[in-house]
């Protein structure tokens, strides 16, 4: 019965896929419509960055990116609302710990590099933030329960830093007559770097905090919820 249903659904979805393939084929066979690629590269020089993807993300379509940071934050707020962080992992042995001592600073350095290079080569705030997040994950796996994150108050400020700086820059530009996220000529490069730096930190902290998987407890708070934060040693 269940097998039959799976088969039936499989056939239906194969039909759907065939229909979509046909639609895609029909479209590609037509004369390709005017794409944004030419336009995007024609204006690239005015965007303040030379990596076209960064230009789209932080200049042409910066509004999307701002909201994307809000989505990331909403997910973390949802995770925090579900309870305190579960217990950490067993602390790693000396050999692994020594390795972690090397990997984590390296990941942070690589993140900084990736942020800087994102202006003109592959890379940028999200990749850099992900590297910071990876450093956090490694720290947590090695037995650091807080994954290297600061206490709750600082953590809260850090996770809103990205969207906050972004929105404030946007709002400031609006208030000074340029329009929301419309960078004044010549200023784009520095404003984008400012936004990207803040976003990198926020993304790194948010991803790490999401991996930790619960409200940051400094060990004393939130015991009323009945969950003990025990760390194995």
């Amino acid at each position: 019965m269940k097998r039959d249903l799976a088969l039936l659904l499989g056939i239906l979805l194969a039909l759907l896929a065939a229909l979509l393939l046909w639609a895609l084929h029909a479209t590609l066979a037509l004369e390709p419509g005017p794409r944004l690629a030419e336009l995007a590269s024609a204006r690239l020089e005015q965007t303040g960055v030379s990596n076209p993807v960064t230009a789209v993300l932080l200049n042409y379509r910066a509004y999307d990116t701002l909201l994307e940071l809000a989505v990331l934050l909403a997910a973390l707020l949802g995770i925090w609302s579900l309870g305190p962080a579960p217990a950490g992992y067993q602390r790693s042995g000396p050999a692994l710990a020594a390795l972690v001592d090397w990997i984590v600073p390296l990941a942070i350095l690589a993140g900084g590099y990736m942020l800087w290079v994102g202006g003109h080569a592959p890379g940028g705030a999200f990749q850099a933030g992900a590297l910071l997040g990876a450093a956090g994950v490694i720290l947590r796996l090695s037995g650091e329960p807080s994954a290297g994150l600061p206490g709750e108050p600082a953590q809260r400020w850090l996770v809103v830093l990205g969207a906050g700086v972004f929105a404030l820059v946007g709002g400031g530009l609006l208030a000074s007559g340029f329009g929301f996220l419309t960078y004044p000529p010549g200023q784009a490069k520095w404003l984008i770097l400012l936004i990207e730096s803040a976003a990198t930190v926020a993304i790194g902290v948010t991803l790490t905090a999401a991996y930790v998987g619960g409200r940051p407890g400094s060990g004393t708070a939130h015991n009323g919820t009945g969950q003990s934060r025990t760390v194995q040693r």
């Binding site: 217990a87 990736m114 890379g123 999200f126 990876a134 991803l207 991996y211």
Partner: protein, 93 residues
């Protein structure tokens, strides 16, 4: 398109779809997640071939990396639950 390149593309895509199929069909959680991570990394490789290095990096680091790490934690929990609970020293939330 040259035949050799077409062949290369076909192998690339066939591997991608086989990885996706394997991830989807694997009932064992840890194995499924490992296959999913492999799928994500392979996807990044394909995107690098399609001249999207930025996105390949992002998919490898965020999609396969962070997403995979998150799922792996869940898969390990699921596996622990399956292995009749109560074993000492092994169960972590």
């Amino acid at each position: 398109m040259p035949t050799l390149l077409l062949l290369f593309d076909l192998v690339l895509l066939a591997t991608l779809i086989v990885l996706a199929l394997a991830a989807v069909l694997s009932p064992e959680p840890r194995r499924a997640v490992m296959l999913f991570i492999a799928f994500g990394l392979w996807l990044a490789l394909v995107w690098a071939r399609l001249r999207a290095p930025d996105i390949a990096l992002a998919e490898a680091a965020i999609g396969a990396g962070m997403g995979g790490a998150l799922m792996l934690a869940a898969a390990r929990r699921a596996a622990h639950r399956d292995e009749a609970a109560g074993r000492d020293g092994d169960k972590r939330a």
